[in-house]
Structures are given as structure tokens and as C-alpha cells.
């Protein structure tokens, strides 16, 4: 057990990490701060740590809550003779404190400057990259660049951009292998039409996406296993501009609460590029 004084400069390098280095089994946690433009994390403070790598001390209240709560119950049931009232009061207080401690890491996740989970790559499956062939070269280049940048700069593992019905798909998707690119494009188009994503009028953000939650429609299973966050940004925001391009942008990540306000603002800016 040790107390470590952290005096790190804030500008940690944001070099894009090659995929081969990210282990697909472990969840690495590091302090990428989720902050507004006006705030800066003051890191020269005393931080309590056991010094064991890979152990996340912010979950300590939860473990202590479970441990002490179970000891309280043990104490209650192993007590001989009728239990008097003051003890019952103490035990009630102790159990409610234990419940609160168990909830503390969850509350701490929403505070500013909290640690954000890093994405894990799906274990099976390969990356796909499919662009419709019915569009011009400059749009193809823009789509390729936009999907690449979204995969690199956010914790996205799968991205799909639809412009006037033509799709560009990149990343890890749950699609049949051994299909030709043209067939794969049509297969995705069919699935997307079934969900009706082109009709979405406002942004949709699911920070805790659960498979059962979406419904029985089989089309949602194109998303890779382990998807925890989903964000859909339609290109059209205003029906009074009919000459603008129709479509949407979908990003998915294996980290929960992966898209902060800033990430969503940047994804909206990317969508603006394709509005025409």
C-alpha cells in the first residue's frame, strides 16, 4: 500500500495505437479525461493506490461495501439470544451504508474528470471495409477518410455512413464472411432498411446498449458482439432544407459511455461534411 504523488503534465500523447498491440481480452483503464474545454485536470494531488498494476482502486468502496455488508449479516445471524433494538438500529445503518458504498463507483463515473473505459476489440471476426460503387470518387475519398478518422480518434470499433442510400461500412461487424464486396453492401443496405435508420430525425445515443433492449428485430445483430455504446447521427436536422443530402452516421463502441459531449460534437461535425 503506498501513496503516490502524481505530478504529470496534462498533454499525454495521443498517438494512434496500432490495432495489433491492443489485447482483445483485457480491459485497460487509463485516465483519458472527459472534460469540457474550460476544465483542466489538476493531477498534482495525493492519490491512494496499492501499487498493484491492473487493480482499479476506484472500485474499493464497492468491495468494502460487499465485504462489510456480508460481515454484518454474518454477525446478525450468529448472534445468540434475542437481538436488542440498538443493535438492530446499528445494523440497519450499517447495511444502508454498505449499499451506498456499493453504489459509489457508479456515481463516480458521472463526475467530471472521471476515468473513461478503453475499447476492447472483438475476439473473433475481421474488419470489413465496404464502399458503394455507385458514387463519385471525391465522395468515396471523403467517406474513406471520415470512417478512418472516426475509428482512430474516438473509441469506435464499427462505423457506418449512409449518404442518399449509399453506404460505407468500416470496422468490426457481425456479417457473413465469404461474401463479395458488392453483395456485402446490398446485405448491409437491406439490414439497415429493415431497422429504418434512414428515418431517424434526431441523434440517438445509447451509452449502455444491451442486446435484449433493442428488440427482437434480427437486423440489429449486425452490430458486433460486446457493443456497449451506440450513437446515431442523422445528416438532416432540418426538414426545411430539402436539397441537402439524406442519410445518417452510425458509430458503435465496446466501451460503455464511450461518447462524451465533445466526441458527439466532433461526430456531428463529421456528419455536416456529408450534408452537401
Amino acid at each position: 500500500m503506498s501513496i503516490r504523488i502524481c505530478n504529470l503534465p496534462f498533454n499525454s500523447s495521443f498517438a494512434p495505437q496500432p490495432r495489433a498491440r491492443i489485447s482483445s481480452r483485457s480491459t485497460r483503464v487509463f485516465a483519458r479525461t472527459e472534460n469540457d474545454t474550460q476544465q483542466q485536470l489538476n493531477l498534482s494531488v495525493l492519490r491512494f493506490t496499492f501499487g498493484i498494476p491492473g487493480l482499479d482502486e476506484s472500485y474499493l468502496p464497492r468491495w468494502l461495501g460487499y465485504g462489510f455488508g456480508s460481515l454484518l449479516l454474518l454477525n446478525h445471524f450468529s448472534a445468540s439470544a434475542p437481538i436488542n433494538e440498538p443493535q438492530l438500529r446499528s445494523e440497519a445503518l450499517g447495511l444502508s451504508l454498505a449499499a451506498f458504498s456499493i453504489a459509489l463507483p457508479y456515481i463516480g463515473k458521472f463526475l467530471k474528470g472521471s476515468v473513461v473505459e478503453q475499447r476492447t476489440l472483438p475476439e473473433e471476426g475481421e474488419q470489413v471495409f465496404v464502399i458503394s460503387s455507385n458514387i463519385g470518387d471525391s465522395l468515396k475519398e471523403d467517406l474513406a477518410w471520415a470512417t478512418y478518422v472516426l475509428l482512430r480518434n474516438t473509441s469506435t470499433i464499427a462505423v457506418l455512413i449512409s449518404v442518399e442510400g449509399e453506404l460505407c461500412i468500416r470496422g468490426y461487424w457481425n456479417c457473413p464472411d465469404q461474401m463479395l464486396k458488392a453483395q456485402l453492401h446490398d446485405w448491409f443496405k437491406k439490414k439497415v432498411d429493415e431497422i429504418g435508420l434512414a428515418d431517424v430525425k434526431e441523434t440517438l445515443y445509447f451509452p449502455q446498449y444491451e442486446v435484449w433492449f433493442i428488440g427482437s428485430s434480427a437486423s440489429w445483430d449486425i452490430l458486433p458482439n460486446g457493443t456497449r455504446s451506440l450513437f446515431v447521427q442523422p445528416l438532416i436536422q432540418d426538414i426545411n432544407e430539402p436539397q441537402k443530402m439524406d442519410g445518417f452516421l452510425l458509430v458503435a463502441s465496446t466501451a460503455g459511455y464511450a461518447y462524451s459531449d465533445k466526441d458527439r460534437a466532433w461526430i456531428g461535425a463529421m456528419a455536416e461534411k456529408f450534408r452537401g
Binding site: 445503518l93 432498411d193 433493442i214 461534411k273
Partner: protein
């Protein structure tokens, strides 16, 4: 297998069906409702809407209160345990002999955990820095020789920066020409109009040369501490932070912000991606136009 095919047929041909949690196996319907509008109009969205998380909203809005909450809870329960002891007439002795003391000790341990967690949360509170309004004139000047596609790309870049970051001024110089000067611009004291970008002076200065040599983005988080400030006279005098993004080896984008350390590492990554894209687009345009002018001669 049969059931799955029937279910799929139902999904395809019944666009108005509600989405259920579990697949409901209806009796097979032997007529198919042919809707001719499915090819033109997008099918209506059948998925769920995101639900609001009340806890998350409350905590993000009342950050300070949420941080000190564990301290109050821990402190109050500490006092409550002692009070309980005194009220019930048992001596406040902290030994593990009776089961009452054991329960009290466990409650005390949890109270202390909460207190310490609250203290840790308070100590890692981010410092909030107020933005400073840049002094100058608002302007939008784009080089007139550029084609519309390039202009729209540059304006898209400006809109994204304005929306997603604390950027308030943008100047792009490429191939010795100032392509765009947009946002808040310093006001020249003589004629009360915007300060024009002197590209020759900029390109001979140490700031530009340093960025071109390192070929990497340069982030001046607190511009007032930087001596090369005088080489950027076109930015408002109280610009707080500046990012200098090289566009390949022929140009530079100067992005001014209104908060000290206002650009996060995420912003820096996005800005360098946009810089690469602009360099590709502008490079191609200028190479093409150079070829065209060579053919004309």
C-alpha cells in the same frame, strides 16, 4: 428453420409491426400485404428511443454537491453510531466482544470509507477556467480564386472547429497565399478594420519555420507566455491558446482559442486529422492548377 423464414417474411412485408422483446411466433399468415411505398420512402424507425438516466443527469449538473455527498453521509453515520450507543445506554467501548460492538465497528468502517472517498473526489476536482472573449472584429475573408468545393471544405473546417472546440479564429496560409481568415480578427488601430495577414512576414518568422521543420502540430496552451506572439499580429490580442497545424510542407493553419489550455488532447488529434485532409485537398488543387498554368504557357 420454417419458423425463422416465416418470421423474416413478416418482418419484410409488415413495415408497421411493433418490435417485441422476444420473437412472437404468430400463426403463419398466408397473404402478403404488398406496400408499394417501401421502395421510395424510408421505412419508419422501429427501434427504441434512448431513455434518460436521471442519476447521470443529476450528477453532471450538480457536480460539487455530488462530490461532497459521501463526506456528509460518512460523517452523519459516524455521529449516528455514537448517538445510538449513548441513547441505548451502552458504553461506547470499541471492542469486538459483544455483537453490538461488532456491528458498530463495521458501520464505523463503512463510514470512514465513505469519508475518504469523498475526500478523494474533492481533491481530484478539475480546475475550471473561464473563457476570455477575444477583442477584435468579426470577419470572413476567403481568397476569391478558389473553386467552390475548396471554399466549402474550408468553411466546413471552420464550422466544425467553432462547434466542437473553443476556437474563435482561424487563418489558413498555403503556398504563400492566405486562403481564409475567419472568426475574430485583431483590429488595426489606424483604420479600425481587420489586420491583413502578411504571409511573407509570417513565413519568414521563427514560428512558421519551427512548425515546418518539426512537421508536427504545435500547441501553445497559454499564448501570453510565448515570445513568438508578435509574429501572429492578426490574432486578437487576448487570444488565450493557439494551435499551429502544418498542412503538409506547404501551409499552416493557425487556430486561436479563448481559453487557456482550452484544446484537449482529443481536439488536437481531430485537428491534425483535419489538417491532413485539407493538405490532401489543397495540394491536389494547387498541383492541378500549376499544371494548367504550365500548359497555357
Amino acid at each position: 428453420m420454417e419458423a425463422r423464414i416465416i418470421l423474416q417474411i413478416q418482418i419484410l412485408w409488415n413495415p408497421n409491426r411493433q418490435s417485441f422483446r422476444r420473437p412472437c411466433l404468430h400463426l403463419p399468415r398466408f397473404f402478403i400485404r404488398a406496400s408499394s411505398s417501401t421502395s421510395q420512402k424510408p421505412r419508419s424507425y422501429k427501434g427504441p428511443k434512448p431513455s434518460t438516466n436521471l442519476v447521470a443527469d443529476f450528477i453532471s449538473r450538480n457536480d460539487d454537491l455530488a462530490r461532497s455527498l459521501p463526506i456528509y453521509v460518512g460523517g452523519a453515520s459516524l455521529l449516528a453510531v455514537l448517538f445510538n450507543r449513548t441513547v441505548s445506554g451502552i458504553a461506547p467501548v470499541a471492542d469486538a466482544s459483544s455483537s453490538q460492538s461488532r456491528a458498530d465497528l463495521l458501520a464505523l468502517g463503512l463510514a470512514v470509507t465513505n469519508l475518504l472517498t469523498g475526500l478523494v473526489w474533492l481533491s481530484i476536482r478539475p480546475k475550471s477556467i473561464t473563457p476570455v472573449n477575444p477583442e477584435g472584429v468579426d470577419c470572413k475573408v476567403v481568397d476569391s480564386d478558389l473553386p467552390t468545393s475548396i471554399v466549402s471544405e474550408l468553411l466546413w473546417g471552420w464550422e466544425s472547429l467553432k462547434l466542437a472546440t473553443c476556437c474563435k479564429s482561424l487563418v489558413i496560409v498555403y503556398n504563400g497565399i492566405c486562403l481564409i481568415q475567419i472568426g475574430m480578427v485583431a483590429e488595426s488601430p489606424q483604420d479600425k478594420k481587420r489586420v491583413v495577414v502578411n504571409t511573407d512576414k509570417l513565413m519568414q518568422g521563427s514560428v512558421y519555420r519551427g512548425v515546418m521543420k518539426s512537421k508536427a502540430q504545435s500547441y501553445l496552451a497559454n499564448l501570453s507566455l510565448y515570445p513568438g506572439r508578435s509574429e501572429l499580429p492578426f490574432l486578437p490580442a487576448n487570444t488565450q491558446a493557439v494551435i499551429l497545424q502544418p498542412l503538409g510542407d506547404k501551409g499552416i493553419a493557425v487556430i486561436g482559442g479563448n481559453t487557456i489550455r482550452g484544446f484537449t488532447s482529443s481536439d488536437q488529434a481531430w485537428i491534425s486529422s483535419i489538417g491532413e485532409k485539407l493538405d490532401a485537398t489543397l495540394g491536389r488543387y494547387f498541383v492541378d492548377s500549376a499544371e494548367v498554368s504550365r500548359e497555357k504557357d
